[in-house]
């Protein structure tokens, strides 16, 4: 076990997300490149190792004719003036197709409409680890800016050469280079015509500072919004082809069950049906979806179940089966700080498994042609899925291509290639392309869940309100957001990994939701113990200016201190710092004493993610994160028994609907002096504790389990509150 100094200490917040990157061989040579994209001017961004974080690929040294190997992104200006940008990032509703286009438009000085983004295609776009962890805005956006800025400079040079002018005297604007001295101007497309000019830039090209942004920093509506409101956009399940068969998989009756026998004769006798059995995998391909469903129903399979952990023993199991923590953070002497504290408090919090339930279920279309496998699939990790396919079918890397049509949400749930592998296996057997769309039941059962967890907290404080001791143990749920932002002299913080009884993986904001829930609920209890105002107590123990600022902004907006909590109404606050973003959320709840039902009637979220790129898009993300967070905070939980999910339908697994959603006010703290951070996740983490704290303020009932109100109302209403 190691103890590390505070600053160097890094938990593994992404332990459920990151897998080791594959060795990437990017080997398109220059002639090949221009043959593919057409004549023009191209710029690729070479990432110096370590600088660009997770995005770049690794590869061999290049020959002189080849483009450089460690490429983060590239851009091409074609003869028609169209700008094509290639990035391995993918769009799933977080609106980066628009915000990245904005970033490029800014530097290249072209209208957003002339930009097309090619995203998440393993044959065309540079390697990318995946779209998660709120990394797109802080890393991909600056990379694209650099590429675009370099392309602009290249075009300026071309014009300068043509006119025999000094590049420094020329101006780039609105898709043209002009020479103010002579009044001449030339369009980019003219400069690009007949060219096969490629340039590589290192990622330190200077960028337009946020204070001078013209395109970015302003709201811009979705670049391809019309495709969605007309139903034109094709998600993976919408892809068509005359040859495509429909696939369907026979699922085991419980997790981990092994196939002992299969009677497939009836199904195989159906016209046009192919049945595949390969180990535990059983599936069919048929001409239509109803036929595939009928064929699966005709299969007679026997399965041998494996013992399962009952749900009621889940939290005990997680505690008892924890492996020794690999990392822990320790400062000061916890034991003496606890024993000398005026007030001590100890509490345990639990978090249930929950499902992502993206509205577009997992789906894939797989096609084998001339020994090459191409799969279209909604995934957050096209390159990761490609590697899974390479492994599953033992193919060379260049024989697999994964293309990601913009997908109907992911929330961290579309990292794996399950549907892709299944469709590919069926297509291989059927000798025709196969489309496989998971049903909602499959989605709720065979995807993976946000980890369940147990969190134990012990604290000590002085009577004057100084927090002096902090002990925090997270079992299984994860290490994201586990560090406390408060100043505490003595602390011990540990994450204890467990082999989860159910399949688990990443989920929007990861464990930051659970850890903030436990920490911010506990902070509230300590404030109560000390008879201090919860906001005042937090600020007293908080030095970080940006976090203080969002706490104050949220409190101000909701009228903290003015509107007092009473027995039927409560106000709560919660917040923290994660992934470069600072968030504070205030919630107001009302309680119906007769029924015990609780309503969240107002939510205010103050958020600081540095310089804001697209304020309207950002607000949409923040409000959406709160709506999603509402489900996990109040009523979402996976119910399971004997290796089955019992609530595997939307009628059984409740997610937030129109009537659940209170007015959500967003306060953006725009810090033009700070680098932009991502915003898809962190805005979610303050909500659950804010609601829990508001419920406590109204009822004196402390709810320490997520979800807090699985039955929709308080377990018991304390009339004395």
């Amino acid at each position: 076990m190691t103890s590390k100094p505070y600053d160097e200490f890094v938990f593994e917040p992404e332990r459920y997300e990151l897998r080791s990157p594959p060795a990437y061989y990017f080997d398109l040579d220059r002639r090949e490149f221009f043959r593919v994209v057409g004549a023009g001017v191209a710029v690729a961004l070479v990432c110096r190792s370590g600088l660009a974080g997770q995005e770049p690929g690794r590869g061999r040294r290049g020959s002189q004719e080849s483009l450089p190997k460690e490429i983060g992104a590239w851009l091409h200006v074609g003869e028609s003036g169209e700008v094509t940008v290639f990035t391995g990032k993918v769009e799933m509703g977080q609106n980066i197709r628009t915000s990245l286009a904005q970033a490029v438009a800014e530097e290249l000085r072209v209208p957003v409409a002339s930009i097309r983004l090619v995203m998440g295609d393993t044959d065309l776009t540079p390697f990318d680890m995946g779209t998660f962890g709120s990394r797109t805005t802080p890393t991909m956006s600056p990379q694209l800016r650099r590429v675009a800025a370099a392309a602009r400079d290249l075009l300026v040079e071309l014009a300068a050469k043509r006119w025999n002018a000094k590049p420094g005297k020329l101006k780039a604007e609105d898709g043209k280079i002009s020479d103010p001295a002579s009044g001449r101007s030339i369009e980019y497309k003219e400069l690009a015509t007949g060219q096969a000019l490629a340039k590589a830039v290192i990622d330190d090209e200077p960028l337009t500072p946020p204070t001078e942004w013209k395109v970015t920093g302003k709201s811009l509506s979705k670049v391809n919004g019309a495709d969605f409101v007309t139903g034109k956009h094709r998600y993976t399940p919408d892809l068509k082809g005359p040859e495509i068969l429909h696939g369907k998989v026979l699922r085991p009756p419980s997790f981990g069950a092994a196939l002992t026998s299969l009677g497939a004769r009836a199904a195989e006798a159906m016209p046009g049906v192919t049945v595949v059995r390969d180990g535990n995998f059983v599936g069919v391909a048929a001409k239509s979806e109803p036929e595939a469903t009928r064929a699966v129903a005709a299969l007679k399979a026997e399965w041998k179940p494996v013992p399962q952990i009952p749900r009621r023993e889940l939290f005990d199991y997680l505690k008892k089966n924890a492996r020794p923590s690999e990392d822990r953070q320790e400062t000061g002497s916890l034991a003496s700080a606890l024993s000398s504290a005026d007030h001590r408090l100890e509490a345990t919090y639990t978090v249930e498994y929950i499902a992502h339930a993206p509205l577009e279920p997992r789906a894939a279309v797989a096609e084998w042609r001339d020994g090459k496998l191409t799969v279209w699939t909604g995934t957050q990790r096209p390159f990761g899925v490609r590697d899974e396919l390479v492994e599953a079918f033992r193919l060379p890397l260049d024989r697999v291509r994964v293309i990601m049509p913009d997908t109907g949400a992911g929330f961290g749930g579309k990292h794996t290639g399950d549907a892709a592998i299944e469709a590919a296996r069926l297509a291989k057997a059927a000798g025709r392309p196969v489309k496989l769309v998971w049903t909602r039941e499959e989605e709720f059962t065979w995807a993976y869940f946000r980890p369940a967890g147990v969190i134990e907290v012990r604290s000590g404080a002085h009577a004057d309100g100084t927090l002096t001791a902090w002990e925090f143990h997270n079992y299984n749920s994860g290490g994201a957001g586990i560090r406390t932002p408060y100043e505490v002299g003595s602390q011990r913080i540990e994450f204890h990994p467990v082999d989860s009884p159910l399949r688990q993986g990443s989920y929007r904001a990861l464990a930051a939701t659970a850890n903030h829930f436990a920490r911010e609920s506990h902070m509230d209890d300590v404030a109560h113990q000390l008879k201090m105002d919860p906001l005042e107590f937090r600020l007293k123990n908080l030095k970080d200016d940006r976090l203080r600022a969002v706490f104050q902004a949220a409190a101000k907006q909701i009228g903290w201190g003015g509107a007092k909590s009473s027995s039927g109404r409560g106000f709560g606050i919660g917040g923290g710092f994660e992934k470069g973003g600072y968030v504070a959320t205030c919630a107001e709840v009302t309680l119906d004493r007769a029924t015990g039902s609780v309503r969240v009637v107002r939510v205010v979220t103050a958020f600081d993610c540095g310089a804001v790129v697209n304020p309207d898009g950002l607000k949409n993300q923040i409000a959406g994160a709160n709506v999603m967070g509402l489900g996990g905070a109040l009523f979402e939980a996976i119910d399971f028994e004997n290796g089955r999910v019992l609530n595997n339908l939307f009628s059984l697994y409740r997610v937030p609907r129109f009537s659940d959603v209170p007015p959500i006010e967003v306060v953006l703290v725009d810090r033009k002096d700070q680098p932009s951070a991502g915003a898809g996740e962190t805005p979610l983490v303050g909500l659950a504790p804010a609601i829990g704290n508001a419920i406590f303020a109204a009822t004196s009932i402390r709810l320490r389990s997520l979800p807090m109100l699985p039955e929709g109302k308080l377990p018991k209403v304390n009339p004395g509150a």
Binding site: M92, G93, Q94, N95, S221, K222, G225, A226, D227, F228, V229, T230, G231, K232, H233, R234, Y235, P237, D238, K240, H246, S288, E289, P290, A357, P358, L359, E360, P361, D406, T407, G408, A409, F411, V437, T439, R440, D616, G617, N620, Q621, A623, G624, A625, N626, V627, M628, L649, F650, S651, V655, P656, R657, F658, S659, V661, P663, I664
Partner: protein
């Protein structure tokens, strides 16, 4: 059950070939390539598959195709006319009432049906009428705003 061989969709008569009990959703998507209507649950709980049948919002995943025979079916593809978006579509764009967009067709179809019977709905009426439509991305407040905006425009244009 008898086979269904023709449907009236978006003002056109289209040939199909389906068992009567096949869901309208499957026929729209797989036979007619009208994929703007989405599958989200297959049990009437999400509204992604909403179409209009004789102007009323219906869950196409639960509608046997035989029940839609000889009726006027409108899908998301049939809303825009003469190259102009329907005012509800336009309002969704103006309010940016979408994130991943997967729920959007169903939301728009339901909203069109709502405005037909309630030209000036209150926010509560909008929420109540659309309660059966899920947006997992949580875009609800903007969807309400978009419906309000469309109602407003409808009122102004008479």
């Amino acid at each position: 059950m008898a086979k269904v061989t023709e449907l009236r969709i978006n003002g056109k008569r289209l040939a199909v070939e389906a068992e009567g009990e096949t869901s309208l959703l499957t026929v729209l998507r797989d036979q007619l390539d009208l994929t703007g209507t989405k599958y989200g649950c297959g049990e009437g709980q999400c509204g992604a598959c909403t179409v209009l049948i004789n102007g009323n919002p219906r869950r196409s995943c639960l509608t046997p195709v035989s029940a839609a025979e000889k009726k006027e079916i409108t899908t998301i593809e049939g809303l825009a006319t003469g190259g102009y978006l329907h005012r509800v579509q336009q309002a969704f764009l103006d309010e940016e009432a979408l994130q991943c967009g997967y729920c959007t067709s169903g939301m728009i179809m339901t909203a069109v049906a709502l405005l037909r019977t309630h030209p000036q709905p209150s926010d509560e009426e909008i929420a109540r009428f659309m309660e059966g439509n899920l947006c997992r991305c949580g875009t609800y407040p903007r969807i309400v705003a978009a419906v309000r905006r469309a109602a407003e425009r409808q009122r102004k244009s008479g």
